[in-house]
């Protein structure tokens, strides 16, 4: 007689098949996109031979350079500012006596995750239009940075808060017992232990900002093309494998950041 065991979902008939199909559907298109970036022909549907030429074309493309520069300026600034805001918010919501409205504040910070992005995009656009109309103010690329910062905050907030909640509060008590003022206890104990959470939050914020399309498309003015916008503009014309090459570069940057975030998370779990 077989030993009674916990149900193992892997043993269910068809489970493996479904899992393999899911993974194929997810990754085959991406794989094809990457493969065609090496196509020596000029069509993205007809394979001719192997070349790295399209990467060369992309790197020499001034529009690509401009878009990449805009993307970096916006993403890096938005990441730094949103991570600082998220860190302060997380500390203000975990290291204080419970205050009225704490639950509401938590909701407000995380609501952007639930609101459809197109709504946020339209709202942001109207907001900037209103400011421009009423006060004649236009911050140029600052508009995009501001918009990105705002929607990055909840993404940066989540891992930082999780890290703060996991932290043993006795450590801060022990620091106070050993003559550390509240500021010193924060600087010497809380902050160093929080760094993995902050790094992880920053990496998430960067990814979200780096590949944002909807909000950027609506808010961006002339000369403020980011990489996702550039790719979108290119595919409306006859496509060459150059776009595959650019997409692959973007994908690699994303993967790099996700990996860094994951590795940091794993190290802190040790």
């Amino acid at each position: 007689m077989a030993e009674p065991r916990m149900m193992d979902i892997k043993d269910q008939p068809g489970f493996r098949t479904v899992a393999v199909i899911c993974l194929l559907v997810l990754y085959i298109p991406v794989l094809i996109l990457m493969i065609f970036s090496l196509n020596s022909g000029s069509l993205v549907t007809h394979w001719e031979g192997v070349t790295l030429g399209w990467y060369g074309t992309a790197f020499l493309n001034d529009e690509f350079h401009a878009a990449a520069k805009n993307t970096m300026i916006i993403s890096v600034t938005a990441t730094i500012v949103s991570t600082i805001c998220a860190t302060l918010a997380a500390i203000g919501m975990t290291r204080v006596k419970p205050w009225r409205g704490l639950a509401a504040a938590f909701m407000v910070i995380n609501l952007p995750l639930m609101v459809p992005e197109i709504i946020t995009a339209v709202a942001t656009l109207s907001f900037f239009a209103l400011i421009a109309g009423a006060f004649g103010l236009n911050f140029g690329i600052g508009n995009l940075i501001l918009a990105h910062t705002v929607f990055c905050i909840p993404f940066a907030y989540m891992p930082i808060r999780a890290r703060l909640e996991d932290m043993d509060l006795t450590l801060e008590t022990a620091a106070a017992d050993l003559y550390a003022t509240p500021w010193n206890a924060f600087k010497r104990i809380t902050l160093p232990l929080l760094v993995p959470g902050i790094m992880s939050g920053a990496a998430l914020a960067f990814i979200v900002s780096f590949d944002d399309f909807t909000i950027t498309q609506l808010v961006a003015g002339p000369g403020q093309t980011t990489l996702p916008l550039y790719i979108w503009n290119q595919i409306r014309r006859p496509m060459t494998p150059e776009i595959n090459a650019i997409s692959t570069i973007l994908l690699m940057v994303s993967i790099l950041f996700v990996s860094v975030s994951f590795l940091i998370a794993r190290r802190r779990a040790k």
Partner: protein, 406 residues
């Protein structure tokens, strides 16, 4: 929050009578005469290190109010190994946290060498704590952990280094000073936690059940180690435990607590031999309870009559006036079996014999219906052997019985 953020704590010059407080921003650590490794004679012999006066601590509000401490007063002397002993929830940890400054009393005063420290935050009190979970800083080495308190006090680097080396030697951890705290064993973490709390030479060291996470053998070792450290440093130790054996073996004096109150303060011998109340007798060690009637009393000794008409002289605590029906307490080792029931003060049937190696417990069902345990130390010479079911008598040693408040 009303706490000012500061970058550095400075140690101000001490006035003759130091004021820990209010307007002062610094913690001060009194300098101590004598070396750390020698036994230090207290500056003010016989003075109290800590005086707790009428302290109440209430948690919660409205209907959910719970008094964790119900108007507690106790004095802890300098250089003393003082233990707060009681079951969980008795308020012993709350009292420790109030002395450390992690909580603030609802009412009352806590004096440290005469100054009220109750309103001060923990970083302004020359009192350090060894936590139950050790609370070592995981991102620092053993040496950095030990030096943390001195660093926060703004001591010069050379002084910190010298002191850390001294502390490492004191707790025998020199070889592991560069390790992360996650790379050392539980017993070693315990030693680091002790060294870290002792390094700033606190006036009082608080220990919150520090041995509870260790296994039996290591615990026994650390008990001796703690006594040695207390002796060598001359610092007042306040030790919290629910383990009565730990309390009896280590303490100079013990305060037995229950339900937010201190029931009795005394030396281990006082507490064990002359418990003030039934709870204390029951909580510390094994005890037999016997019903009886007071027939007369004279200068602290009552004559109590059992149902069998036998009488016994029993002491009672000061301030207690036993009358009528009372409960007598007798420790199992203060009684002896006799084969002839008629020769015992009380008599019964031997129900069970339990062998413990060092001693044997005889469970006797008394004729009155109560259970009574007699403990007999085993020796090489085989004395009278008893069989279960036999009728036996029980004799009491002189002063064995006491009348206690229920």
């Amino acid at each position: 929050m009303g706490i000012a953020f500061e970058n550095r704590v400075t140690a101000p010059q001490l006035p003759s009578r130091p004021a820990y407080g209010d307007n002062q921003t610094g913690t001060h650590l009194p300098t101590r005469a004598g070396s750390l490794n020698g036994v230090i004679v207290p500056e003010q012999p016989g003075k109290n290190a800590i005086e707790v006066r009428g302290v109440r601590k209430v948690f919660g509000t409205g209907e959910n109010q719970v008094a964790a401490l119900d108007t507690v007063s106790v004095s802890i002397r300098e250089n003393e190994f003082f233990t707060l002993l009681g079951p969980s929830g008795c308020g012993k940890t709350t009292l420790l946290r109030l002395i450390a400054g992690f909580d603030f009393p609802t009412a009352g005063e806590i004096l440290l060498h005469g100054q009220d420290i109750a309103p001060l935050p923990p970083f302004k009190r020359p009192v350090n704590t060894v936590f139950q979970s050790y609370a070592l800083f995981p991102h620092m080495t053993v040496a950095q952990n030990i030096g943390f308190g001195l660093e926060m006090l703004g001591k010069p680097k050379a002084e910190i280094e010298a002191r850390v080396t001294q502390m490492l030697k004191l707790v025998k951890m020199e070889a592991l000073k560069a390790r992360r705290t996650s790379q050392i064993s539980g017993g070693q973490q315990q030693r680091v936690a002790l060294a870290r709390a002792l390094a700033p030479q606190p006036k009082v060291l608080l220990l919150d059940e520090p041995l509870s996470a260790l296994d039996y053998k290591l615990r026994k070792e650390m008990q001796i180690e703690l006594k040695r450290l207390q002796h060598e440093t001359g610092i007042t130790f306040i030790f919290v435990t629910h383990d009565q054996e730990e309390a009896l073996t280590m303490s100079d004096r013990i305060a037995v607590m229950s339900a937010g109150k201190i029931l009795q303060v005394g030396s281990p011998r006082d507490i064990y031999d002359r418990p003030a109340e039934r709870f204390v007798a029951d909580f510390i060690g094994e005890t037999n309870f016997l019903p009886g009637t007071v027939v007369s009393k004279k200068s602290g000794v009552a004559t109590v009559k059992f149902a069998s008409n036998a009488t016994i002289a029993a002491g009672y605590p000061e301030g207690f006036d036993p009358t009528g029906e009372v409960t007598l307490v007798v420790r199992p080792e203060h009684a002896d079996l006799v084969p002839d029931p008629a020769k015992g003060t009380v008599a019964g049937t031997l129900a069970n014999i339990v062998y413990f190696g060092t001693d044997t417990h005889y469970h006797v069902k008394l004729d009155g219906g109560e259970n009574f345990i007699v403990r007999h130390q085993n020796s090489r010479s085989a004395p009278v052997t008893y069989a279960t079911g036999a009728k036996v008598g029980i004799q009491f040693e002189e002063d064995a019985a006491r009348v206690l408040k229920d």
